[in-house]
Symmetry: C2
Subunit: 116 residues, 2 copies
């Protein structure tokens, strides 16, 4: 059994034209022995956003803290702590922070794609 706290894990920072203010962490992945699916955490700074994209694999998301929104079928849908979001493979999506505090969520992917 492996027990961590996300604040103990060094984040990779993503900043550019298509992604802004995003800290990504692998909470549970292959290095821990997890073979079937991977738990990552993303922390979006105020005004931060993830890239708008689609890919073959699905996401299972759980919102931990802050206020944000997800781009769904051309609209932004608000998200708050306690929301679960299932994004099937090949569906366009994007996340953004809409608040003054970090917007933090876990996002799981199946085995196969890069962990971060």
């Amino acid at each position: 059994m492996i027990i961590k706290h996300y604040t103990q894990i060094k984040a990779a920072r993503f900043d550019g034209d298509l992604v802004k203010g995003v800290d990504g962490r692998v909470l549970i992945g292959k290095a821990d022995g997890a073979k079937n699916f991977c738990m990552r955490m993303f922390e979006l700074a105020p005004e931060g956003f993830s890239p708008r994209h689609s890919h073959e694999w699905e996401h299972e998301i759980f919102v931990y803290s802050g206020s944000g929104a997800v781009f769904k079928d051309g609209d932004w849908v608000s998200l708050k702590p306690g929301n679960a979001v299932f994004i099937p493979g090949n569906e366009e999506h994007q996340m953004k922070n809409t608040g003054e505090m970090p917007f933090v969520f876990v996002c799981l992917i199946p085995d196969g794609p890069p962990e971060l």
Copy 2:
């Protein structure tokens, strides 16, 4: 894309000799189209606990709120919001609430076993 809030999902209650005060919910599962892994949420009432058991499949857990502990190698290890726990298959485990508020965590499993 499917967006829910956990409070909108009817919980199944587990109470007995081996499990006490546990509300279980499937947040993302086969009914949503999720084929590879399943996100459940468990809410343990004060003094509540899950069964002490082991099984072939792994757990990937993220603690959302409250105070609790996990039984690991004969000892109880404290958990708080932001903890991630990887429990490999066939490793004995149990969760309990150690606080005055509900102890709430998401717990993901691979495809195969019952969702709840």
